[in-house]
């Protein structure tokens, strides 16, 4: 193994663990891709009332997060929503009313 290999990429064992963690959360929640798609569309609808978002760049997935209550991890919906422009306060409110 050369020195350069150290900078190459994550070990395959770590890759396997990370993949499994994600996979099992959605397996356990038995959340189908159709449901995920529906959630995604609803999120776009709601947030679009207030700001312009990049709906193609939107990424939503079920992951795990630390829970303070039982010192373990709990499933969480993680959404990465790129914002194009934030509409100013009064506009957003009036548009929200209209919708």
């Amino acid at each position: 193994m050369s020195v350069f290999d150290l900078f190459k990429k994550k070990n395959s064992g770590t890759v396997a663990k990370d993949r499994l963690k994600l996979l099992l959360v959605s397996d356990r929640a038995s959340c189908s891709p159709e449901i995920m798609e529906a959630i995604k569309n609803d999120i776009i609808k709601v947030i679009s009332k207030y700001m312009e978002i990049d709906s193609d760049g939107l990424d939503i997935q079920i992951t795990q997060t630390e829970s303070e209550e039982n010192h373990g991890t709990v499933p969480a919906i993680f959404a990465n929503i790129p914002i194009k422009t934030i509409r100013n306060g009064s506009d957003a409110r009036s548009e929200a009313k209209r919708n």
Binding site: N11, G13, K21, L24, D27, G72
Partner: protein, 263 residues
């Protein structure tokens, strides 16, 4: 008081049958009266792993259908006279037996044996349902691979749904050389992902291939896997045995020692 343990995994080929044979033999070595039941109807295997394939007269389906008495179908082990095998039927299919019939059979065996160990078929269909019907405890066998772990997770969920709360994990075929290199998940990784209690880890040991070839369980021998199985057996009986270091025998000095030992 007798204990009924199902050995299961979801995925095939991870070592359920080998685990059943070794755990059962280990318990018998420690003077427990044990019966092993092969519930994989149509794909009988536990008999060959135990080296008892030539002694089969009746099988599980014969007992359930009333073609023979239980005693007639039980095969006494070659090495330990407190160890018995109830073989599966090779020419029938999984629907030949129902969970209710399994439950009834196990209730009868409970009067006679300390431990009843059920070798579960792969999958989550009828065969799985039959195997878990009478069990109060489960050993889930997995290997440190994504496919086996995903299936184990599903199985653990199904066991819980069927009110089998005592579930322990065996991580099989660990290769410490790969773990060290970072190319295999560690035992801790697997336990962390599946979130069940670990009852033991078994190294990927060529001696298992050899002992299976010969129809001899490896438990009780000095091989690393043999010692790992004996530790699991003791933990099943409630002893508090620390996890052994699976790495020791592959160390540089031990290898040199082994070279001298073998001469």
């Amino acid at each position: 008081m007798s204990e009924v343990i199902v050995v299961t995994s979801g995925k095939g080929g991870v070592g359920k049958t080998t685990t059943t044979a070794n755990v059962g033999t280990g318990l018998a070595m420690l003077n427990k009266k044990v019966v092993l039941i092969d519930t994989d109807i149509g794909l009988r295997n536990l008999d060959v792993v135990m080296g008892l394939e030539n002694r089969i007269v009746y099988n599980l389906v014969d007992v359930v259908e009333g073609n023979c008495r239980i005693k007639q179908a039980l095969i006494k082990d070659k090495r330990y006279n407190n160890l018995y095998l109830l073989p599966s039927a090779q020419t029938r299919d999984k629907t030949s037996v129902s969970p209710e019939q399994m439950q009834k059979l196990i209730d009868e065996l409970k009067e006679e044996f300390d431990y009843i160990i059920l070798d579960c078929p792969a999958g989550i269909e009828q065969g799985f349902k039959n195997a878990i019907a009478g069990a109060s405890r489960a050993l889930v066998v997995t290997t440190p691979e994504v496919s086996a772990i995903r299936d184990a997770d599903r199985i653990i969920g199904l066991l819980e749904a069927n009110e089998i709360t005592k579930v322990d994990l065996i991580v099989n075929r660990i290769r410490m050389d790969l773990v060290k290199r970072g190319d295999m998940m560690t035992i801790d990784d697997v336990v962390d992902i599946l979130a069940v209690s670990l009852i033991g880890a078994v190294p990927d040991d060529e001696n298992i291939v050899i002992s299976t070839n010969q129809g001899e369980p490896i438990v009780g021998t000095d091989a690393l896997a043999g010692r790992a199985y004996m530790n699991i057996v003791k933990r099943i009986m409630g002893e508090d045995i620390p996890l052994m270091n699976l790495d020791t025998d592959n160390g540089f000095w031990n290898r040199i020692k082994n070279i001298f030992k073998s001469k």
